[in-house]
Amino acid sequence: MSAMTEHTLAAPAVTRLLPKPGTLLVGLVVIGVAVVAASSAPRVLASLLTQSVIVAFLALGVGLLIRISGLVSFGHAAPFGLGAYGAAWALSPAAPIAPEIGLLLIAPAIGAAFFLIGLVVSRIEGIAFGMLTLALGQSVHVAANKFRTLSGGSDGLIVDVPRRLWGFRTEALQTASGMLIVAVAALMAVLLALAVFERTRAGRLAVAIRENEERVRFLGYRTRAPKAVVLALSAAIPALGGVLFTLYQGFVSPEILTWGFSGQALIMAILGGSVALWGPIAGALAFFVLREELGGLTSHWLAILGTTLIVVTVTWPTGLAGAFGALGRRLTGTVAKGDPA
């Protein structure tokens, strides 16, 4: 009995890996809402939601890195953009393997690449990490502009999405409502996977490393691999978003590789907050809704965004997720038990 409790960190039982049934239910409700929204919302709203859900994959990757590793990235447009270009290459007639297989390999491949990068850069943190990601992101952006034969340069690539993939017709993927359902379902699956990951040994080690890497090493754990796993996940998720982006838009250009785009994702992650896994997703939705509403009212959208960012970071560092958490606790009358999951 006592032996079991002692080893919970080493081998948590499968049931303990799953989030609470209530959380799972919320995920299903969100998918249900997406289905309703996709079938009944006006086209403009549906397309806005679809865009924001696709970019939410990127914000989620950036936010995950902040949440688990405490690292701020200024270059995560790179995995998103590489995912999008990867999908374009996988769908091109010149691709060596069937698009059905190629598309599925993109996110794991980009994740694996970032795992290797993570092993190399594991000692870099803080501001230096931000600068490094900026440099890597800019390199990819420059490369996409330069190597025209591969990327089409600044003109981008137009993608012919085949009419059938995995036996399904793909027309729906290019409509806002069809893609909305697919993207939301995929996003919920990713959230579930992340919630499980955070409960595994590697996930908990990664959090411990953020708190005090030296002490974790002292306890006898290797710290390199868990950190690299988090970086890999934080890249694979945007890559998946990039694949959906290409399937939806049928077009990729270096626009989605600029550091301004990375910065926008960072803003979403911060607006949403990192105290809850879903924070960056809320941040992405808020970002797109704000841009749509304010963009129509005033031309000073950038200044308002900048001011919002400053105010949120300074006065409200837990973002939307933190605000919801506080509201929830007040409504249910429960006291905060440390970091809400």
Partner: protein, 282 residues
Amino acid sequence: MLINALNGLVYGSLLFVLSAGLVLVYGLRRVVNFAHGALYMLGAYIGWSVATLYGFAAGVVAAGVALAAVGVVLDLVLFRRLAGRQPLITVIVTFGVLLILEDVVRSVWGTGNRALDPPAALDGVVEIFGAPFPVYRLFIVAASAAMAGGLAAWLRWGRTGLFVRAASHDASVAAMCGVRTAAIGPMVVGLGAAFAGLSGIVAAPFLSIHPSMGSEILVLSFVVSVIGGLGSFAGAFVAAMLLGQVQSFGTVLLPELAALLPFLLMAGVLIFRPQGIAGTKG
């Protein structure tokens, strides 16, 4: 060959003056200022407006003074209040400042390109070893050298310069020794912003003025200060000169890869020597 080296020198000195402002602010506030490129752009636009009315010299003065004022306000309103918080919070705040300044520039001056001619006295061409070379580019080198030299001399021998170095090294010990650190902050950030503004107006006739000029050069000035070692002027100088040559020869010898080289260089330095050429650990 020689012309390439000279062009590299011109670009390198411009980068150094810009990065010097970044290094100055980092040294004191431990903040990587993402708004630095926007300050550079603001300097170019303000300088352009004044220069087209009252001549180039007035434009340079206006850019320097106006940006120094912006820097002082930035420090008093934001940086000082955030001094005790995590540096990354302040970094994100400067990102917000960048967005606001870009909006200001777009609203006041629009999104079109602006061109500024060099002043008549500097508008010629000289022969250097038989090859023609624009006088204005030599002026960039001279002006940068004067600004960098002035800054170095002030920090090295000036009484206030000594206080700045002391406060950058350890603000609380400096304060205990009687340095008014509260006054040092706005002064240093103001000076850093003025350097950004001055390099903006000096660069204007050489590069063109447009709303994305700031973010383009910001990343390069980050590359310079990271390669040099954040907070080190000597390191930034070496890195800026190196980057100038890399850019200049890269465009000729490896046109495909030239734009990639700075980032590869930076990534390499960060991986093998995270503290940069001249940086100390920590």
